[in-house]
Amino acid sequence: MTHVRPLANKLVPAAAALAAALVLAGCTPGTTTSDASGDAGTPVTGGTLVYASGDAEPSCLDPHVGGNYPQALVASQYLETLYTKDADGTLIPWLAKDSTVSEDGLTRTVTIREGISFTDGTTLDAAAVKANFEHLLNPDTASSTGYLALGKIDSMQAVDANTLELKLKSPDNSLLESFSMPWVAIESPTALKRSQAENCAAPVGTGPFKVESWKKQDAVNLVRNTEYVLPDPKAGHAGAAYLDAITWRFIPEAATRYAALQAGEVQLIDNAQPDAIAAAEKNTAIKHLDAPRPGASNRVELNSSKAPFNDAKVREAFVHAVNVNASIDSLFFGTAKRSYSPLSSVEPLAHSEESLFGYDPAKAGQLLDAAGWSERDSAGYRVKDGARLSLTFPVSTSQSIPAEQSLFEQMQATAKESGIEIKIKLLDLSSWYGELFTNNYNLVSAPYTKVGPGVLSILFHSDSTIPAPSGYFANLSQVKDPSLDVLLDTAGSTKDQAERKNLYAQAQQKVLEGYYLLPLYNQQNHFLYSEKLKNVGTTTAVASPTFFGTWLSN
């Protein structure tokens, strides 16, 4: 999945202090857990939470359509998923009661919970879920994330009122993880029959809140679902949410957003910047929620399909020529921890290899000399056969926070000392995609969020180098390694958990050793909120916060 932030949002930094974060990262929805500082007192009913999002305003509130992170954030308030993750990061059933898979892995049976209704009165049943899946798989819906997640479903059938049987094209051990993502959340089938424009404006779900109105470019107004039924009674208090309403505002400017929080105009902001987080740590009135996203880590990919990175030695030299750690320390104020894995640290199957990525200019020099880049031109850059060792680095201003852009600039400065030129091109999203589609890049940083290690297949399988009709492809380092493909295919279909873990570790080791990527840190997902807001910290499987148990103290 791709996530889109607004252009001006390049000013938004985000970072994570991993140690403090893990406790909070995967809280069960609805579980009334205290956050780090401890919320004392009795919950109070009432009040409106003003949420300020730094992300682009979605063009559709239904996350089936397209499917990006901003949609997931807001949709988590009014839609629920079949599965979710608890505080330990364990997958648990939510709207689904249970699920089984046949021995050959080709038939998946899902039992749907009873007694739950959508906010338009429609009853949740197997037919409703089927209607959702059909909606996702219908090309007219133009789903991208959900469509990919359900890609292996061949056919489906509602066996009875609460049992749905899915036939798969090939075994898929990531399916339940996919079901936990808001992009495949379950909506009212009655509502789905409306036109797409209507459904985009006000999707109908089973969540603790419902969409009341949407004033474009201003706010989405959510009100409490008074009829809410918590699917898992152990997960929180009985009855409806404490908050009367949520005003979901879009404030693209990071500095403005933080100022609005300080001024009390809003109670919670996302995409908090590292310096603001650091300042908030010292401020008792503002609290911090760090919820790293699952799936891939934030990384720079090295395009192995063309010179000079078609030479593994040059890739390795590059990795040693840039000093990432010093930059992360100074730019992220301790809110982000260096990653050495292709996967997010919240993924249980993440595999790290720190020893491969040390800053070692001497070694970089040796490797480059050995690769034939021994001469230098007047500007001090290495040359080979008259060509400068120059790397094009398109950066999307809407997908990269300022601290990250500064990090790239600092990489640029340290690489220069080893005689490597990096040309950073700041581009708007369309132009940025244009550079990728025409293979006009040597380095690129693109986010990808998905629950589970299955994301590795999307990012590194050779199938993913084949562009979609739009030109899009996810394997941006353009790894085409048949042995890696086999590893990923097998890991994705095996029923043996131990084997799955082992195979994914091998696959990660392979891409790391091949220097196809330079891991940076987790995909940053920081929230700052007013201390008046109590019991914040429950999140969905994709680390989007939920507010069922949250209340506003006076």
Partner: protein, 327 residues
């Protein structure tokens, strides 16, 4: 009087103002031409921008839309037809008042604009009024207080006019919201939320207007008719109110078309920073997401507004100043 009085300015005959009607018709024709030219320029200009409009419809290049979906979108929006068919179809739809459906918002452009015009209009009109008031105040104060005051006022105006919107907005938020906590940094439903955006837009404009108004005001203060008025026993305040202000208003009226353009451009920045819904912010979003119908809609709207404002300001000038004859 017996002799001929054929001086340069012909005496206007009372009765039906045919010349004004002719002038208005001319303006109308010119306005239609401008709208056509803007529509044409946007149509062809935006098609030269790299990127498939069908992708923009499907949610951007990262949408991984299927070939069928893209084809369907092309067919739905008529993008598979020859360019000239699209062009004339577009003109016909525009002429009949249909601005199409936004690619990104999937809502009729007219509807979106209808929602976005009021907030931008409120912002712009308030900013214009505040700018006028500030410019006037500066101009009056500096013309009334001698050489030193004039130098000071003029310096203040020049510096205000040189301040970038985005910088001013940042500094205002830092000082008045974060440090002093007096005003909200984002737009709210209360009037307080409008204060900072309006000041941000108004201050540089006031600098420009002030410079022009003070020059004219000084000229009027030193003119023969001001001397005549003083010789009649008129007080300095009377000269200011009855004569100088009128004259100072003329160039400010003439500049209103330009001021409108600058306000709209400023609104792009101000609406983004203060998180206000409005035309400026949507324009930026529409251009970056290649939302052709939205870009066309905003461009046509602002061109139409410009034409109307220019005609209005010319009319106001004609009414205020008989020296501007029918031309």
């Amino acid at each position: 009087m017996s002799t001929s009085t054929a001086t340069a300015t012909p005496t206007r005959s009372p009765g039906f103002p045919w010349s004004t009607v002719r002038w208005l018709l001319g303006k109308l024709g010119g306005g239609i031409f401008v709208l056509w030219a803007v529509a044409t320029a946007i149509f062809f200009g935006i098609r030269m921008i790299p990127g498939d409009p069908a992708e923009a419809i499907m949610g951007g290049p990262g949408s991984q839309a299927s070939a069928e979906a893209l084809a369907a979108a092309r067919a739905q929006y008529g993008l598979d037809q020859p360019l000239y068919v699209q062009y004339f179809g577009q003109l016909w739809r525009l002429a009949t008042g249909d601005m199409g459906t936004s690619y990104a918002l999937k809502t009729p452009v007219a509807e979106v604009l209808g929602e976005l015009i009021p907030p931008t209009l409120i912002l712009a009109v308030l900013a214009l009024l505040v700018a006028w008031a500030m410019a006037l105040l500066l101009a009056v104060l500096s013309t009334r207080s001698g050489g030193l005051g004039t130098a000071l006022g003029s310096g203040l105006e020049i510096v205000s006019a040189a301040v970038p919107h985005f910088w001013l907005a940042s500094v205002l938020i830092l000082v008045f919201s974060t440090m002093l906590g007096w005003l909200p940094p984002v737009s709210t439903n209360t009037p307080a939320g409008l204060v900072l955006p309006v000041i941000t837009l108004a201050l540089p404009l006031a600098g420009f207007l002030g410079q022009v108004m003070r020059d004219t005001m000084l000229e009027a203060q030193r003119s023969a008719f001001a001397l005549s008025a003083r010789a009649r026993g008129e007080s300095e305040v009377g000269v200011l109110l009855r004569h100088s202000l009128r004259h100072a208003a003329l160039p400010a009226i003439a500049l209103s078309g330009w001021a409108f353009g600058s306000l709209l451009s400023g609104a792009v920045v101000v609406e983004s920073i203060f998180a206000r819904p409005g035309l400026g912010r949507s324009l930026l979003a529409a251009v970056t997401s290649r939302d052709i119908p939205m870009v066309t809609g905003v461009a046509l709207l602002s061109a139409a507004a410009y034409v109307v404002i220019m005609a209005g300001s010319e009319l106001a000038e004609r009414i205020a100043d008989p020296r501007i004859g029918p031309s």
